[in-house]
């Protein structure tokens, strides 16, 4: 039977009702990192705690990847089915700026400073049917028009 498997253990909480990215925070200087690190790049401290990072942030910068990367890129795409994808750094308040794929790839619909949610979805399906799950950044949907 197929199952949903995180792309790597420890990157985010999974399975979880409300999955979240996992970061580490230095107990000496308070600086956060993603993914979880064993030591602090800011102060060299080794006393760190793991915490869930916020699920919403603002887009700090972005691009659209228009050509298919070489391996280690590993998707279900072929050069024929490849679709350009957005990439950006999402600034998570009180945490860090995390790099990730965007669900949006239209440059007209992406702008610096826009709000985005961290979402979790299938990245690829393995031969045995397992769905490999990773994180994406999705624009916060506009509030519905009144009237």
């Amino acid at each position: 039977m197929s199952k949903q498997v995180p792309i790597v253990e420890g990157l985010f909480t999974w399975p979880a009702e409300q999955p979240a990215l996992l970061g580490s925070r230095c107990n000496n200087c308070g600086v956060a990192a993603f993914p979880v690190a064993q030591s602090c790049m800011a102060c060299s401290g080794q006393d760190v705690s793991v915490e869930e990072l916020p699920g919403r942030g603002t887009l700090w910068t972005w691009t659209v990847q228009r050509f298919m990367p070489k391996p280690p890129y590993h998707s279900n795409e072929t050069p024929e089915t490849f679709q350009p994808y957005g990439v950006g750094y999402l600034e998570l308040p009180g945490g860090v700026r995390v790099e990730g794929r965007l669900t949006e790839n239209d440059p007209e619909k992406i702008r610096i400073g826009m709000e985005m949610d961290v979402v979790f979805d299938t990245w690829r399906t393995e031969d045995n049917g397992d769905e490999i799950i990773t994180f994406f950044f999705r624009p916060v949907s506009e509030p519905a028009q009144e009237g």
């Binding site: 792309i7 790597v8 990157l11 970061g23 600086v31 990192a33 993603f34 993914p35 790049m41 800011a42 700090w60 910068t61 972005w62 691009t63 659209v64 990847q65 228009r66 050509f67 990367p69 070489k70 391996p71 280690p72 890129y73 590993h74 998707s75 994808y85 990439v87 950006g88 750094y89 600034e91 945490g95 860090v96 700026r97 995390v98 790099e99 990730g100 794929r101 440059p107 610096i112 990245w123 990773t134």
Partner: protein, 380 residues
């Protein structure tokens, strides 16, 4: 003890199917030795590097096995700068009088594919398509354009200048002028950067003979002095390539740090520099590196580039040999190519791409993954 460059050699950049990368390195080394009027057996040491074309010390198989200490250097895009810095220290310390620095490479076509594990990053990062240097450069200039009002046309003009300078340089790979319109209309690869705004992996070789400054005139009528050679790596908080996350608080990158240290070491300022070679992995990099190296304020590039100040005849000539955009980037040789070009410029031997007005001070800068920068300042 000051250090002088008394011999320079280059193997043309681009594609040379008939020669291995190592042979291109040996070709450059023989020219550098000949330029200094010395022989390989006169060299007391050598530093060299190549990312994809074998160990640099295999040059001994081509040039002869003389028993000298030959040290292989591997430091990404800063390989050449690192070799040069090591040679500088070896002579400055009094340990050696004269030696050779060499860099060469031969890469496959297409964007470099990097291995996450080698950089201490999880495999997932590459699997989902984030392990791309081109994305980093695109995101950095995207943010920079937003913050400082740089236009897409200015990015196109940087590439246009590179190709027009390349057309004047017999050792360049790309020797056909390309208009700003053609650059802007070429395929978009990573917004806002198009195909012609990116350099490509390539082939080539460069070698330099360095010696004690007090003996320079024995080898060369017009020695060029290495006033500073500085390498810096990233500090916590700088925005760098291959970073799954970055700190909310930002600090200056390694380019700013290396530049400041190099100017201090040489006792000169950005306003004194007559010709500069700045890392132009893509158009945006040249724009940002102008300010990061202290040649202007952030945002001033728009007016400077649009007005032609960075052209060969302008007030701030940059990448006079066509830079990485017109020469391609053979990693091991790229940083040394910049030094080769500045020695030509300071000797007044740059031919069609010579900067007018007898330039006296030259500046080189390389930047590479995962956040390293090397700067040199040369004086005739």
């Amino acid at each position: 003890m000051d250090v002088a460059i008394v011999g320079i050699g280059i193997h043309p950049f681009g594609r040379t199917p008939s020669r291995t990368g190592l042979q291109q390195g040996a070709y450059a080394a023989r020219l550098a030795l000949q330029d200094a009027g010395v022989e390989w057996k006169d060299m007391q040491f050598a530093f060299g590097g190549s990312a994809s074309a074998g160990n640099a010390d295999a040059l001994g198989n081509e040039l002869g096995l003389t028993g000298i200490p030959f040290i292989n250097v591997a430091n990404g895009c800063a390989t050449g700068g690192s070799s040069l810095m090591a040679a500088y220290a070896a002579i400055k310390s009094g340990e050696h009088d004269i030696g050779l620095v060499a860099g060469f490479d031969k890469h496959d076509r297409g964007a470099f594919n990097a291995d996450p594990a080698a950089l201490g990053i999880g495999q997932w990062y590459g699997e989902v398509g984030l392990m791309m240097t081109t994305q980093f450069f695109a995101m950095k200039i995207q943010k920079y354009m937003h913050d400082y009002g740089i236009s897409a046309d200015t990015l196109a003009k940087v590439a246009e200048k590179a190709f027009s300078n390349g057309a004047l340089n017999p050792n360049a790979w790309r020797r056909e002028p390309v208009s700003a319109e053609q650059v802007a209309d070429s395929m978009m690869l990573n917004d806002p950067l198009t195909k012609f705004m990116f350099c490509s992996p390539a082939e080539g070789g460069v070698a330099l003979v360095l010696c004690r400054a007090d003996k320079a005139k024995n080898y060369c009528d017009s020695p060029v002095y290495l006033k500073s050679a500085v390498l810096r790596s990233r500090r916590f908080g700088s925005f760098e390539v291959f970073a799954p996350s970055q700190a909310l608080q930002q600090v200056d990158g390694p380019t700013v740090d290396a530049s400041k240290a190099a100017f201090e070491m040489a006792g000169v300022g950005p306003g004194d520099i007559d010709v500069a070679q700045l890392q132009d992995t893509e158009s945006g990099a040249e724009v940002m590196h102008m300010a990061e190296n202290g040649f202007c304020e952030h945002g001033e590039q728009e007016q400077l580039i649009q007005s032609g100040a960075t052209h060969i005849g302008g007030s701030m000539p940059i990448n006079t040999d066509g830079g990485c955009l017109a020469n391609g980037e053979p990693i091991g040789a790229s940083g040394l190519r910049q030094v080769y070009e500045n020695v030509l410029q300071l000797r007044g031997q740059a031919g069609d791409h010579q900067v007018p007005g007898d330039p006296r001070l030259g500046y080189t800068h390389v930047y590479g993954a995962p956040g390293i920068s090397a700067v040199t300042i040369l004086q005739r």
